[in-house]
């Protein structure tokens, strides 16, 4: 009897899944068009899955093995079951293989079940709680119905009652794992996830066989010349279709929630919930069925939306509240951690763009900062003619006077901040000690546009960027060095789309090359226990974790790492305009970061970002660790006899030799 039932079950499940797939694809196609290479994308799925995605999943060894067993077992079992039971080709080894596959899957599902017994808060509950049972039903059912096929049991063992029972169990498993894959349910992630990998909007973030960085972190530019192009995302259907596909791929594992600094600080943001809300919006309905952690302070069930309705309401509630979007520090911890490679930050900035460009609703001091950027080219509204006042005594060489330099020192808006001026002085001292041929733009420099862009003001960003690019094009230099990771990221990764391609170094990287080349004589000094705080825009955005540590090592520092460092470094709270929009939470992000520091027992935190310096130094606590920029530490290790004399003209050649 099973011979008749099983093929019917399998093929009807497949047919229903196919119908579901068409429906699902239609949902995604509500989004705006975004051309993708279909065949090449599909062909890249195995590698993207096995290498890039696995790389992320493998950070949790138990879960990784569980997933390999369960998913691998399922894919093999399903394929074999179609052959063995669907087509009735049970000959030879196939049946045994099917038994092995379902057994492996069962073993995996046991681990899934164990994890679901007392799940961590970040995991979604609801339908996800039945998944281990469904997995077991499928694997056990298939295992049992295969036993007669390989001849271990007689074909009619157990009689018709057992056969119907088994068929029911298999049907349950098929319903969850095949039908549910496209009609919604926990297994949706497999279908949507595979296609998301194929049609990802940032194909360059995946590794390729030839090697290369496999990184893509710059925000995508809006086309402002096209008057009909939407300015950001107002409604779910304004996302591109592959962004919607990406949201649909979410497996609700909550890794993003666990690393999100805003969520931890009690600000109303949870990246997982945000992605789920986008799915709710794409399908239409309310978030009442969401079974994970809510946005802090915002109960589930009060928000609803539809594909063509606004995401953020002008008054009252819609899908998401504006303050949720403005809580993000754009630290990319969620993106770094997401096993489904979802781009949360892109989505948030897209929605911010609409709020700023169309509605003019940048909250708190956002509007003032943007006005200042427009009128004075710096966020503080300072006289742009006073950019070099801090360095009146340093006699910095202006590139306008010389036309060229080996290193263009990009000072950033820190020139207006008294704290950052100390860092800049140190950096200048170090560069002079190393006899680097450098020059600055002086009053010709403008804000890089980072803050404007993260606040959603693409127009101001592009205006600033284009002017900076025009200025830079007048001069010849080999590379740009900056001590601001935000400028670094924007100059390096975001000016390219507007026609500015430069070799850009963060000062820690550049100092490292100077030390490697022996251009600096360093006297290691005792600094006690030191820890290093990775700036998001240097680490996660640009993958530079090693150079700052190498510099600290060269200083003879006893480096202790915080529990969250490297790619898991916790944000200082200063990125993405978060201090400007200033959404209240239960605690402050920098306070949490300084607690991380305290746990290491370090007396000093080395940083490499003016924003981090300001945020962490703003923490008021008893026995707070000292905060020093890497440039300051290097400058101190040079001693006082390293005369900061302007580099003589004939030293340029020697510097080049050293650099070469």
């Amino acid at each position: 009897m099973l011979d008749i039932l099983l093929p019917i079950l399998i093929f009807s499940a497949l047919a229903l899944a196919a119908i579901g797939a068409v429906r699902r694809i239609r949902l995604w196609r509500q989004g705006r068009p975004s051309p993708v290479p279909v065949l090449r994308g599909l062909a890249a799925v195995p590698r993207r899955y096995l290498v890039d995605l696995h790389h992320v999943v493998a950070r949790d060894k138990v879960m990784s093995n569980t997933h390999v067993a369960t998913a691998g077992g399922f894919v093999a079992a399903m394929a074999l079951a179609i052959v063995v039971h669907g087509l009735g080709l049970a000959e030879g080894v196939l049946g045994w293989l099917l038994l092995a596959a379902s057994a492996t899957m069962f073993a995996g599902s046991l681990f899934v079940a164990r994890r679901r017994r007392d799940p961590p808060a970040r995991l979604s509950k609801g339908p996800w709680m039945r998944l281990p049972k469904s997995l077991m039903a499928f694997s056990l059912g298939i295992f049992a119905v295969t036993l007669p096929a390989v001849g271990v049991l007689p074909a009619d063992a157990g009689g018709w009652l057992v056969a119907v029972l088994l068929a029911a169990v298999v049907a349950w498993g098929l319903a969850e794992l095949v039908f549910g894959m496209t009609w919604g349910g926990p297994m949706k992630h497999a279908f949507a996830g595979a296609l998301h990998l194929a049609f990802h909007r940032r194909p360059t973030r995946f590794s390729v066989k030839r090697g290369g960085e496999g990184r893509s972190t710059g925000l995508k530019a809006l086309d402002l010349d096209d008057a009909d192009a939407p300015l950001g995302v107002e409604k779910p259907a304004d996302f591109t279709w592959n962004q919607l596909l990406g949201f649909d791929a979410c497996v609700q594992c909550g890794r993003c929630e666990a690393v999100c600094p805003a969520f931890a600080a009690g600000q109303p943001l949870n990246p997982k919930k945000l992605v789920q809300d986008m799915v709710v919006g794409m399908v239409g309905g309310s978030d009442a069925r969401y079974a994970g952690s809510p946005y802090p302070g915002k109960p589930v069930g009060e928000h609803a939306g539809d594909p063509h309705g606004p995401i953020v309401a002008r008054e009252g509630t819609a899908l998401v509240d504006a303050e949720t979007l403005w809580s993000c520090t754009t630290c990319r911890a969620c993106v770094e951690e997401c096993p489904m490679m979802i781009e949360h930050v892109d989505a948030i900035v897209d929605m911010r763009r609409f709020l700023t460009l169309e509605r003019g609703e940048t909250p708190n001091k956002g509007a003032e900062v943007l006005d200042n950027l427009i009128a004075t080219d710096n966020p503080g509204g300072f006289d742009p003619g006073s950019r070099l006042h801090w360095a009146a005594d340093l006699d910095l060489p202006l590139i306008a006077d010389r036309g060229e330099a080996e290193v263009l020192l990009w000072l950033g808006d820190g020139v207006f901040d008294m704290r950052n001026q100390r860092t800049l002085r140190s950096l200048v001292k170090v560069l002079r000690a190393a006899r680097v041929d450098f020059a600055v733009l002086g009053n010709e420099e403008r804000d890089s546009g980072d803050v404007a862009r993260r606040l959603g003001d693409e127009a101001t960003f592009q205006r600033l960027a284009r002017r900076n690019i025009a200025t830079l094009s007048q001069y010849r230099f080999d590379r740009i060095v900056t001590c601001d990771p935000h400028s670094f990221h924007v100059l390096k990764n975001e000016y390219g789309a507007l026609g500015g391609d430069y070799e850009v170094f963060h000062h820690s990287t550049y100092l490292h090359t100077l030390i490697e080349a022996g251009a600096l004589s360093i006297t290691p000094t005792a600094l006690g226990r030191v820890t290093y705080h990775d700036p998001c825009y240097l680490g996660r955005y640009n993958g530079e974790y090693a150079a700052p540590r190498a510099v600290l090592e060269a200083l003879g520092v006893e480096l202790v790492e915080m529990a969250r460092s490297g790619y898991r470094s916790r944000c200082c709270g200063g990125g993405g305009g978060a201090p400007i929009t200033d959404v209240p939470g239960k605690q402050r992000i920098p306070d949490m970061r300084m607690n991380d520091v305290r746990e290491t027992g370090a007396e000093l935190v080395a940083v490499g970002c003016p924003q981090c310096t300001a945020m962490l130094e703003g923490v008021v606590a008893e026995d707070r660790a000292e905060i020093k920029d890497i440039a300051e530490l290097v400058a101190a290790a040079l001693g006082d006899d390293a005369t900061p004399a302007p580099a003589a003209s004939d030293t340029r050649r020697t510097t080049e030799e050293v650099m070469g």
Binding site: N364, G380, D417, R419, R588, D591, A614, E617, G618, V620
Partner: protein, 428 residues
């Protein structure tokens, strides 16, 4: 008593000669009635000396001993004291060749420094030709407490103190000025260019008279080529430019446009219009003052800020102090982060840049961002426990001690002062 010191060479000689029989008598005479001799012959014939009586207290409060014998300190000091108040020359202009009309703001019922500067300017215009001096005519509206109009350089004073001029009554005031124009036709009209006083009234007047007023005038110089004989420099383009033009009949001048009158005293003779004022048609009605909580005033506008930081323990007492002092509340970042103060009260580079005249920092140690935010404050007062903190270095006045106790004492002091003032008012 005459101020002129008459010298008697003979007596001075005797005073210097300690052996002269009349020495003591002369000394006593020269030293004045109050001066006691430092040496005298006692009943037993011995010379007695009072060392404390030697010398005199000099004008700067230091004891001086004059061996020349003429201990004239006391007398000299007395003489000088009577000279101390600089005497003003009295000026009375009986037949003025022309009139310069000034409408002072009388903010708070008294001539403000802006008004005095303006009157100084009016005097310049009136006194330019000593042969044909003009008179400065001041027009006041409503009741006032000013008594020294003459010292400010006013020759004629016309008071419009009817009830219709009280409060915000631009139409009635304009009608009065028009009546003055008709009857007296002053050569120039000068008004202080203040936002809600002369600045407004002056513009209304200029428009009514059909004159293109010079506004924001900060300098007036003689210029023979100009029709009025004067040319002025005025701020234009919201302060970005200077406009130089001949001085028109109506000018609205900024504070410090001229030096106030300090050497002369003028008659400030009352003057009235011969015709009664016509009934003015009013379309603007003053509904009276609306109570506003100083704590609610925007930080950037506030001129007196009481700012609280980490060192404040008793927040109720702090709020009470701010209310009593009439200060706008500010806060350091920490106080805001800890939830004691709302975010819009945060002072500093990351909060609001403030421009207060007086900034009192209570228990704020002075993070660099905070100090940046108060750069443009005139006077900074710090109350802090830690004498080494950066705020103390910035402060013009720093009191080291417990913030709570000092605030309490300050509140008590202010309340005492206020009570005193009220009692005085009652007596008066």
């Amino acid at each position: 008593m005459s101020d002129i010191v008459r010298r008697d060479p003979r007596k001075e000689w005797i005073a210097r000669n300690r052996l002269h029989p009349e020495h003591f008598a002369v000394l006593a005479e020269l030293g004045g009635e109050g001066a006691s001799p430092s040496e005298w012959i006692g009943p037993s014939g011995l010379i007695r000396r009072n060392p404390r009586a030697v010398g005199f207290i000099g004008p700067n409060g230091i004891k001086r001993i004059d061996r020349s014998g003429g201990q004239r300190g006391a007398q000299a000091a007395q003489g000088r004291r009577s000279q101390a108040g600089p005497t003003r020359r009295s000026v009375a202009i009986e037949e003025p060749a022309f009139l310069i009309a000034v409408v002072p703001d009388l903010a708070g019922g008294r001539l403000s420094s802006h008004d005095r500067d303006l009157l100084g300017l009016a005097r310049q215009l009136a006194d330019a030709d000593p042969e044909r001096p003009g008179a400065v005519l001041a027009l006041t509206f409503g009741s006032h407490k000013e008594t020294a109009f003459g010292d400010a350089g006013i020759d004629r004073l016309m008071a419009f103190d009817e009830a219709i001029f009280d409060g915000y009554a631009p139409e009635a005031r304009l009608a009065a000025l028009q009546a003055v124009e008709r009857e007296l036709a002053p050569r120039h009209w000068l008004l202080p260019d203040s936002s809600l006083g002369g600045g407004e009234l002056g513009r209304r007047l200029a428009v009514r008279l059909g004159e293109r007023a010079a506004t924001q005038v900060w300098q007036v110089e003689a210029d023979a080529e100009a029709p009025s004989g004067w040319r002025c420099t005025a701020r234009a383009s919201a302060g970005a430019n200077d406009l130089r033009r001949p001085l028109p009949r109506v000018a609205l001048a900024l504070a410090e446009c001229a030096e106030p009158v300090s050497e002369t005293h003028h008659a400030a003779r009352p003057l009235t219009l011969s015709q009664p004022l016509p009934e003015a048609f009013t379309r603007i009605e003053d509904g009276g003052a609306v109570a506003v909580d100083p704590a609610g005033v925007a930080l950037a506008e506030a001129e007196f800020i009481l700012s609280a930081g980490n060192g404040v323990r008793d927040w109720d007492a702090y709020h009470h102090a701010a209310r009593t002092l009439g200060a706008t509340e500010g806060a350091s970042r920490v106080a805001v982060d800890d939830g004691f103060m709302p975010r819009d009260r945060q002072v500093g580079a990351t909060g609001t840049w403030v421009t207060a005249r007086v900034y009192v920092a209570v228990g704020i140690s002075g993070a660099i961002q905070h100090l940046q935010g108060i750069q443009r404050c005139d006077k900074v007062v710090a109350i802090n426990l830690d004498p080494g903190c950066d705020m103390i270095k910035r402060a013009d006045l720093a009191v080291i001690g417990d913030a709570g106790a000092i605030l309490e004492a300050l509140v008590a002091r202010v309340e005492r002062e206020r009570q005193g003032a009220e009692e005085q008012r009652d007596v008066a």
